[in-house]
Symmetry: D3
Subunit: 140 residues, 6 copies
Amino acid sequence: MAIVRVTRRLHFAAAHRLGRADWDAARNAAVFGQCANPNWHGHNYELDVTVAGPVDPETGFVFDLKRLRELVEAEVIADVDHANLNLDVPWFSGVNPTTENLVVAIWRRIAAVLPAEVQLVRLQLWETPRNYVEYTGDQA
Amino acid sequence: MAIVRVTRRLHFAAAHRLGRADWDAARNAAVFGQCANPNWHGHNYELDVTVAGPVDPETGFVFDLKRLRELVEAEVIADVDHANLNLDVPWFSGVNPTTENLVVAIWRRIAAVLPAEVQLVRLQLWETPRNYVEYTGDQA
Amino acid sequence: MAIVRVTRRLHFAAAHRLGRADWDAARNAAVFGQCANPNWHGHNYELDVTVAGPVDPETGFVFDLKRLRELVEAEVIADVDHANLNLDVPWFSGVNPTTENLVVAIWRRIAAVLPAEVQLVRLQLWETPRNYVEYTGDQA
Amino acid sequence: MAIVRVTRRLHFAAAHRLGRADWDAARNAAVFGQCANPNWHGHNYELDVTVAGPVDPETGFVFDLKRLRELVEAEVIADVDHANLNLDVPWFSGVNPTTENLVVAIWRRIAAVLPAEVQLVRLQLWETPRNYVEYTGDQA
Amino acid sequence: MAIVRVTRRLHFAAAHRLGRADWDAARNAAVFGQCANPNWHGHNYELDVTVAGPVDPETGFVFDLKRLRELVEAEVIADVDHANLNLDVPWFSGVNPTTENLVVAIWRRIAAVLPAEVQLVRLQLWETPRNYVEYTGDQA
Amino acid sequence: MAIVRVTRRLHFAAAHRLGRADWDAARNAAVFGQCANPNWHGHNYELDVTVAGPVDPETGFVFDLKRLRELVEAEVIADVDHANLNLDVPWFSGVNPTTENLVVAIWRRIAAVLPAEVQLVRLQLWETPRNYVEYTGDQA
């Protein structure tokens, strides 16, 4: 059976600011530049969720994309869309909201609820049209 | 002489929340929905600035695009990029930061400094990849 | 009061074939080429709906985009998405489904239900990423 | 010698419907939802074909992109563009036309005719701007 | 009869440099900056050609897009694609190849051959993904 | 610690022509087609630079994107933007400027100066919106 990867793109808009609570404003500004603006700024994020698995010979699907969308909307988008990543997201509380930290946290949310028949193999998270991060579950 | 329109696209990322200070949270939520989240949310905005004028027979330009970019960066982008539209922008203070209100305020900023040789004819402001506003200076 | 244009992009996927019932297959093929394939073909359409009006000084909105989206989804998208434009759409029955004919029919649907406070000023309908039609209500 | 991957994007528009001939309409609708509409729907597909190989020191090419395009147009696009994936494609006959099944069938078509000097390493098939599948030849 | 606008996007890649033969290198560099590099640079141009007219009640077309594409390819693309705008294009000879001058020259080429049943109403010429010019035939 | 990939997209516009100095014009035209036009042509290139590494627990960054951008601008973009790839680039001199050869040369430039804390893992170089090459450092 062929193993195919299937990707669904989802969208959310959120505010954030980069910085550490245990650093003062000057140090946060030195390390994080404009992104440390205490009054927040924000982005339109695009999240590409990729799962892999054998093509089910009965349905021709690896995984129903509608079900994948609903699952990611319930576990991730409902919490982060039109929200503040520093203040509003219980499962991201106390974390400096870099795109790197965010993609790893989203990975854990999705991997925890994805049925065993399919495997989460890649998240691609765009912060702007010119930069994105990818995570494939690798640990050092 | 041919009259040509020239457009330059610029980018900024900002936080905001919709709402009126003289309404309570419940009324703001009823009218503005998710966009009234008190903890802010944000967007990547794209701003298309269009000027029109005769093509200068000497240079073949309507207006030097580099100069247009620098002018808009100085008058607009420097103030709104990585900023909070409700809190950080002196020339937008006390205004409910809808895309409509923002595009009109940006128009006034740019029109005030554009050299007489060229005319500001359209601003197109994208809040997300699926919605935008246009302003051409019309008043009712 | 400033008059601003507000645009919302919506998406649908549909099948169609070009041709006239009163022409035979050879003539339809001669005029419409590949698009007359009797077994149908299809597209992902993007529909940009633009309304114009004064910016409401109370809300800062020309028209609530969520309401605009819901209105177009109910009047248009619900009927054409994942449908056959030749067979499935009551208000487009018996019409050769060119993009030109479709944009005019969609205009009538939206204009008929749009509240008087706002004016439908432009529809832009993309059939592929390389061609689109625009309608602004003009009649010859 | 450096091993480089080279990708060419091609486009086609097609109609299809999801479902199995041995299931009744109700079961097809339950599993495939809107995609089982008996009257068909359709999409603009984008197909990214990626081949890999050493950079030829004489030409600086891995593989001539014009030749790659012509090969994919002859083997795939000529059969699926402005066609019905359920009815018109001899090498896809009797297959439920999910994007997963389609990408595997296209892989076989291209792999069978690609010269030995270059290797087919990835197909990416977009069904809409928000979902795509990838196949790299893996079998379970 | 409804008057509809129909747009077809075409692509070409070309080299150019900005400057005037009667100015020395220093003056050209002062006015045109990097774009005056004597060794040339180049762009992928996108050209959106828009025609308007009544929708033909017999065909449902304003103008056959295939015919429009072929006409623009013959009159414009064949001469400018993979060419040098300063050296290779007979109908653009001796003109400083700014986007403004180019769009006006292309307008004249297309307008001269377009059948009377349809009207050329707008050209949009993208030089990069962040800047474009528009021409609608206006003269000062 | 999670290993994450971080990508920054950069842009440049350049002229080039394909061909070998030791081949005559007829042979270059036969092998490279339009791309061998002696008067040059050009493109808008997009370069996606991907680095990988553990997420720094102190900053939440794999690598500061601003620093990555500045590094690539200094080592690559400053030399190739608004330049002629055949004539103007010291570190690409005498190389047939195919996209394949260019991506490998750019890899060497970036890899040579990237700090040890992060690893260059992929370059993606778009020559047009419909074709790109990828290099991941592999050698045959």
